[in-house]
């Protein structure tokens, strides 16, 4: 599975990428929303994993921009954020509207949980 990982912290991004690659996925890691859009332009992934708390542009803006392009409207997105879920204020409707397949709170999400969630999203896509 080709994954675009939008993670602002380089060390954390490399760690997530290494774990996902070890689980058999191909990962492109970017640190900001602008690089994320450029990466999508170059190669369409099967899944986007995104942090919402970014410098300069926030992750919700990134998701709205992502969904504004026809080609990227059905691309599944997993949120992996340092912001606790109750503070994200993402209603179910908004999650559906933005095509968010799942929300994970980083401090409570082990690498094994993330890999499981990625594999599940792959199964859902296949069905």
């Amino acid at each position: 599975m080709k994954i675009l990982l939008l993670e602002p912290d380089k060390i954390l991004g490399q760690t997530y990428a290494a774990a996902l690659e070890h689980a058999g996925h191909r990962v492109q890691h970017v640190g900001n929303a602008q690089d994320g859009i450029s990466a999508l332009d170059n190669e369409l992934p099967d899944l986007v994993i995104a942090e919402l708390q970014l410098a300069a542009h926030n992750g919700i803006e990134f998701l709205y921009e992502l969904r504004s392009y026809t080609d990227w409207q059905k691309l599944p997105v997993l949120i992996l954020s340092i912001v606790p879920p109750h503070e994200l204020s993402l209603s179910l409707k908004l999650q559906q509207q933005l095509g968010i397949a799942g929300c994970h709170y980083k401090p409570h999400t082990r690498l094994a949980d993330l890999i499981r969630s990625v594999n599940q999203s792959q199964t859902v896509q296949a069905v």
Partner: protein
């Protein structure tokens, strides 16, 4: 008098909030790197754990030093300090972290400087805390493969300006003033600079405040950054600069 004490306690609480938010990142890096090291036996992950733990400990020490210096109202121990030597030591301190974040750390001193009156440990802690924030921030935002973070000093109109600089166009005086009002109350006060709480910036500012100077937006060779201005002391020319 009582009101002043309350304001000080409120400021300390806000700094503690910012620190608590900030410290989640290195703890998260350590937790996930440890998980990766256990799964794959990755040496790089072990190196990350060591480096991240060291950086987090330094940040905590800088916070504690800022508390001590700001509480020592009667006997602040200022001493003649060579700014060049402090910047040089700070660069050594930050070099491993910069390399792990893929940044090029440069030291730039234009000319020789007279000694300044400062608390040496406090000044080095302030510049190191500031460096942590810039290194982490430019590695995420820069488009070039090896972004530059510069520790630098130059002569300004008001005195010797020393601080940390990078090619971040989003670092503005407005944003910084807003962030100073908001830190400890919001999760990400320096929105244009970093995705984190940027606690290192506010700890540095608090350390510098104990030496009667503050962090401000400054420029050095077309780079934007945060720096403080120090008055050179003509009485202390015997100290090597």
């Amino acid at each position: 008098m009582g009101r002043g004490k309350d304001t000080n306690i409120a400021a300390q609480k806000r700094l503690l909030n910012a620190l608590a938010e900030q410290i989640k990142l290195p703890l998260l890096q350590i937790a996930r790197s440890a998980e990766l090291a256990l799964q794959q036996g990755s040496t790089e992950a072990l190196n990350n754990i060591e480096l991240t733990a060291d950086s987090a400990l330094k940040l905590l020490d800088s916070y504690l030093l800022s508390l001590r210096l700001n509480q020592a109202s009667t006997d602040i121990f200022l001493e003649p300090v060579s700014i060049a030597a402090v910047l040089n030591d700070t660069a050594h301190e930050l070099s491993k972290l910069a390399s792990s974040y893929g940044c090029q750390l440069e030291l730039h001193l234009s000319g020789r400087y007279e000694p300044i009156m400062a608390n040496r440990a406090g000044l080095e802690a302030a510049l190191t805390s500031l460096g942590f924030v810039f290194i982490e921030a430019v590695s995420a935002s820069a488009s070039e493969p090896k972004p530059v973070v510069k520790l630098a000093a130059h002569r300004g109109k008001q005195g010797i300006v020393a601080g940390t600089f990078a090619g971040n166009e989003l670092l503005t005086a407005d944003m910084y003033h807003r962030a100073r009002r908001l830190h400890g109350r919001v999760r990400q006060p320096l929105t244009g600079l970093t995705s984190t709480a940027g606690a290192g910036v506010f700890i540095a500012d608090s350390l510098l405040a104990s030496m009667s100077t503050r962090l401000r937006i400054a420029h050095h060779q077309k780079l934007a950054g945060l720096a403080a201005t120090f008055q050179p002391s003509k009485q202390l020319n015997l100290v090597l600069s």
